[in-house]
Structure formats: structure tokens, C-alpha cells
């Protein structure tokens, strides 16, 4: 029950129920799709970067469990306004934290933002659910890199 409480913290439930930025950015200039074929979860991330490569707007469309919706919601909230290289650093840091590290090490996010993001770390005790938390992040990377390839959660670790 402790683990469950950690997994389904208030903030996760809130973002899961009322995801922020769940829409489609107008005039987006980068986007990518992600898909988890095992459970059918789908996400589509839209980015609008301005001339100096700052995230002017980010949004997502999709459907999935509380964890995946909350993760995408928090992600979009936190990377808005950041520069492209900063976004990449945050993504890398988040994925490393979910995989193995105890904390976030980037110097970009404020402490309160890191605390918010750490709420997703409860998923570490549920190996089958890690992909729910990481799908939108991998998809964001794919959008930034303009790979034009759909992220398939079965093909990433």
C-alpha cells in the first residue's frame, strides 16, 4: 500500500485527471507520435520553437493511464520556455532518474519543479509501468530530433 500511495500521489492523480496542455499547438513546427503496442497507449507531442530555439509552446494529444497522462502533462509544463538544448538535458536527466538514479541532477529546473517531477519516481517500483511514464519523454526527443519516426515503447529501454 505504501508503494501504491507513492505511485498515485495527489499530484499524479490531479495531472492524470486534468492534464495540462492536452491540445494541439497551432502552427507547431515539430511533432512526433509515440505508441505502446502492449497496452495501446498513444501520444502525439507538438512543439513550437521560436527563432532562438526556445519552446514557445508545447502540447500533446493522446490517451492512456493516469501515469502516462500525468507524465506528459508535467513534462509539457516544465519544458515550456526552455531552450532546446535545455529540454534535451531535462529529458536525459529524467530518463536516467527513472532508470537508475536517485535524484535529478540538471541545473535547469528549479527545486520545486524537480520535486514535482520526482513525484513520478514512484513508478520505479513497478517495472511494467515505467514505459507509461517514459513514452511521452521519448516522443518529445523524437520531435526535437525531427526523426519522423513513431516511437514504439517496445523498442526502447
Amino acid at each position: 500500500m505504501m508503494d501504491l500511495k507513492e505511485l498515485y500521489q495527489e499530484i499524479i492523480l490531479d495531472h492524470g485527471k486534468n492534464p495540462r496542455n492536452l491540445r494541439k499547438t497551432e502552427n507547431y513546427n515539430k511533432d512526433a507520435k509515440g505508441h505502446n503496442p502492449l497496452c495501446g497507449d498513444k501520444v502525439h507531442v507538438y512543439l513550437k520553437l521560436d527563432e532562438d530555439k526556445k519552446v514557445h509552446d508545447i502540447s500533446f494529444e493522446g490517451q492512456g493511464c493516469a501515469i502516462s497522462m500525468a507524465s506528459a502533462s508535467i513534462m509539457t509544463d516544465l519544458v515550456k520556455g526552455k531552450e532546446e538544448h535545455e529540454v534535451k538535458e531535462i529529458v536525459k536527466d529524467f530518463l536516467e532518474m527513472i532508470k537508475e538514479k536517485d535524484q535529478l541532477n540538471n541545473k535547469i529546473l528549479e527545486d520545486n519543479e524537480k520535486t514535482k517531477l520526482m513525484c513520478l519516481s514512484g513508478v520505479k517500483k513497478y517495472p511494467m509501468r515505467v514505459k507509461c511514464a517514459t513514452l511521452s519523454w521519448h516522443t518529445l526527443t523524437s520531435a526535437i530530433d525531427n526523426t519522423q519516426q513513431e516511437i514504439n515503447s517496445e523498442n526502447i529501454d
Partner: protein
């Protein structure tokens, strides 16, 4: 039928799973194994092992006899006319691929039509899709009604002079709908169309009589019948097995091999190329005996009472929506919970030792039709009890609490 006694025959229930008593509600996915089956695999490997059909030494002859004994037991279990109508495969998936591949090769050409239903498991769609690509055949899907059933009419509507095969499930692994397969077979045969039944969910739960149903092909998954993994069965009428070309080539399935040509062996070897899942086949005999001992009629009765009880309990729980409400329903209870995704349900239930499945259950066509990306599914087996259903319901209530519903 004393269920406590039956449960005791399954060693998995003697152990805690993450400190919980196991409430196993995932038998449509795969069933647990009785001790006799586990023991049989151990005994065979420790005392009796040999490859079958190849050598003349004592163990090889004994193993071959045991292997063939399972074939005969299965023949009787489903009342096939001839033991050679039973082909061992690696699973129901391979059984269906075998038919699609060989039937397609021999009989299908561009523009021919195959009828499936919206209830089909990917195993009974993807193999036919290959023919769409390689041969240019068309696939038509018979539509479900609002109860999640497939009627005779929904199939009849789609039949045309170009229809060359009807391939349908016996029992939906999502809505639980039991299809009128005998009537559909008669309909198919009245138009000279062969019919394949995906019997994965039928065989573990319903009395089967191939001669009465009359179907041409019936695919079975042994791991859902209290048997080992890596094993399935294709029942096929002898005339088909004699007419269709071989599927895989290799040792054991040939008659004569020369540099300039090969002749193939007779049934049943023709379709069993290479070393088969010998231990699994031999242990599967114990699964059939186990089922026979309880009696399939008793199993049907027990599971149908339990399903009714489950439907009642879940209907009373006001946030639960059952997926489909077929009149003739097998022991599958798929559901959604308002505002809670199936994966979250499964994780929370798992914490209480309640094992269910969440997702599309390999039925994306159906989930798209229903407008659902995922459902939660509790499916029953011979070892389940009313207490299991009550625990399921309690855990569902816990989900609601966590999500403030």
C-alpha cells in the same frame, strides 16, 4: 463438485504472491497448471526421456507411444472422427497460420474473400492479413451488435460467391460472447465455404464435439486448458489434411528424399516437421485426464454460475461498466471503471494479489469499434470461487478510493 479440492490440485495456490493469496483471474490469457501436469513433465525428463518417432530403442518406442496416446485422448475429448485429424502445433497461433498459409497457397487468388468477425484475436486476423498482402484477397469483418455478440445474419450478409473461407472465434476473449458455431458452420457449408473456428476460449470451458459442430478446422491452445505452454492443436477434417500442402519442411514429415525430389509423409507426420514439443504433448495427456475427471459439464456449470455471480456483483458496483452483455456468455468479465484507466486498475488490483489483464487483449479491432483504448478483464477458470469475485470487487473499490471516485 468440490472446488476447494480442485484448487488444492494447483500448486501455485500454495504459495503467496508478493505476500498475498493469489486471486488468479487471468485464465483466458493462460491457465494455471495442476500438479499432475507439472509432475508429468518432471517424470518424463527424469525417467523416460527420448525423442519420438526416430529410434528403435526402448525409450524411443515408449515415448512415441505416449506421444500418440495424447493424440488419441484429444481425439476422444473433442470427438474427432480419426486421431490423424489432430495435429500438434506450437500454439493456436501456429494452428491458424498453418491453415491460412496452406489453404491460401492452394486455393486463394486475387479478389477472393475471407470473412472474419470484429471479435477476432490478432491470431485470427494477422495470418489472413498476410494473404491480403501476398495474394490480394479481401477481408470482411462481420459486425458485433450492441451486446457484443455476432449473429448468424451478420455473417450471412457478407457471404458472396467470392467468399472462400470463414474464420471466427468460438468464444470472445473480451465480451465472452459464445458464437452459434454450429449454425454458422451449416450456413457456410450450405454455400460450400470451409470454416475455421478459433477455439482458444472454447476448448477449456465448453463441451466439444467436432462431428456435431461439423467445422473444417478448430484451433486449440493447450496452455489455456491447464496444459503446458508451447503447445497447441489443430483439428482439421482429414480431407483437408490430405489435400492441403505441407506447412513446414524438415525431418519426420517426409517419405523419401532424393537429390532431385522429395515425397512427403502421411498423416499425422506431414504437418509435424522437426522435433516437436514432446514433453509438453505427453504432459498434456494429464490435462485431458484432469478435465475428464471433473467432467466438462460440471466445469461449464460451475463457471457459468460464477460468471453470473460476477456479472451481478459488478453490475451492483455503480462505477463499473461491463463490456458487452451477450446472452450466451463464457467466463470472461471485461469492464471499465469511470475515469480510471485499465492499467491503473490492474496495478492497484495486483497489490492485493488479484491478477487480471489490462489492455486490448490482442483485440484492437474490437476495442476501436467500442471506442475504448483499453479494458480490464477478469477471466475465470475451474479453480475460481465466489470469494475470488468478492475480492475482485473489494479491490475495485480500493481503486475508486485511491482515485477519489
Amino acid at each position: 463438485m468440490n472446488i476447494e479440492n480442485i484448487k488444492k490440485q494447483f500448486p501455485i495456490f500454495n504459495n503467496k504472491v508478493q505476500n498475498n493469496d493469489l486471486v488468479y483471474l487471468d485464465s483466458a490469457n493462460s491457465s494455471q497448471k495442476p500438479q499432475v501436469v507439472v509432475d508429468r513433465i518432471y517424470d518424463f525428463y527424469t525417467k523416460e526421456f527420448s525423442n519420438v518417432g526416430r529410434s528403435v530403442h526402448y525409450l524411443a518406442v515408449a515415448a512415441t507411444n505416449l506421444y500418440e496416446e495424447t493424440r488419441c485422448l484429444m481425439q476422444k475429448y473433442i470427438n474427432a472422427k480419426d486421431p490423424n485429424e489432430i495435429v500438434f502445433t506450437k500454439g493456436a497461433t501456429e494452428a491458424i497460420n498453418l491453415v491460412a498459409n496452406t489453404f491460401g497457397q492452394k486455393f486463394l487468388k486475387e479478389g477472393d474473400e475471407i470473412i472474419l468477425t470484429e471479435l477476432e484475436h490478432h491470431s485470427n486476423y494477422v495470418p489472413w492479413h498476410y494473404l491480403r498482402r501476398s495474394k490480394g484477397v479481401q477481408i470482411k469483418f462481420a459486425e458485433i451488435n450492441s451486446e457484443g455478440e455476432i449473429s448468424l445474419q451478420s455473417i450471412e450478409k457478407l457471404i458472396s460467391p467470392k467468399t472462400k473461407m470463414i474464420a471466427i472465434t468460438h468464444l470472445s476473449n473480451v465480451t465472452g460472447a459464445i458464437l452459434p458455431i454450429k449454425e454458422i458452420t451449416q450456413l457456410a457449408h450450405s454455400k460450400n465455404i470451409p470454416i475455421l473456428i478459433d477455439g482458444c476460449q472454447g476448448a477449456p470451458h465448453l463441451k466439444l464435439d467436432m462431428q456435431e459442430i461439423g467445422c473444417d478446422f478448430y484451433a486449440i491452445s493447450c496452455h489455456k486448458m491447464y496444459g503446458p505452454t508451447g503447445l497447441g492443436i489443430l483439428y482439421a477434417k482429414k480431407k483437408w489434411l490430405e489435400t492441403l500442402p505441407p506447412y513446414q519442411g524438415g525431418g519426420g514429415m517426409i517419405s523419401e528424399v532424393k537429390k532431385d525430389g522429395i515425397t512427403f509423409g502421411d498423416l499425422p507426420n506431414k504437418y509435424e516437421a522437426g522435433t516437436m514439443a514432446t514433453a509438453q504433448v505427453i504432459a498434456f495427456a494429464e490435462s485431458i485426464k484432469f478435465l475428464n475427471q471433473i467432467g466438462i459439464e460440471n466445469i461449464e456449470k460451475h463457471e457459468s454460475e460464477l460468471t453470473k455471480y460476477g456479472e451481478e456483483v459488478l453490475r451492483k458496483n455503480n462505477s463499473v461498466k461491463l463490456v458487452g452483455s451477450p446472452k450466451n456468455k463464457g467466463s470472461v468479465l471485461s469492464f471499465t471503471l469511470d475515469g480510471i484507466h485499465a492499467h491503473d486498475i490492474a496495478t492497484i488490483l495486483d497489490e492485493d494479489g488479484v491478477a487480471i489483464r489490462a489492455g486490448h487483449h490482442c483485440c484492437q479491432i474490437l476495442h476501436d469499434k467500442l471506442g475504448l483504448s483499453a479494458t480490464a478483464r477478469a477471466s475465470l477458470g475451474v479453480y475460481n470461487t465466489k470469494e475470488d469475485i468478492d475480492k475482485l470487487n473489494e479491490s475495485i473499490n480500493k481503486c475508486k478510493k485511491i482515485f477519489n471516485k
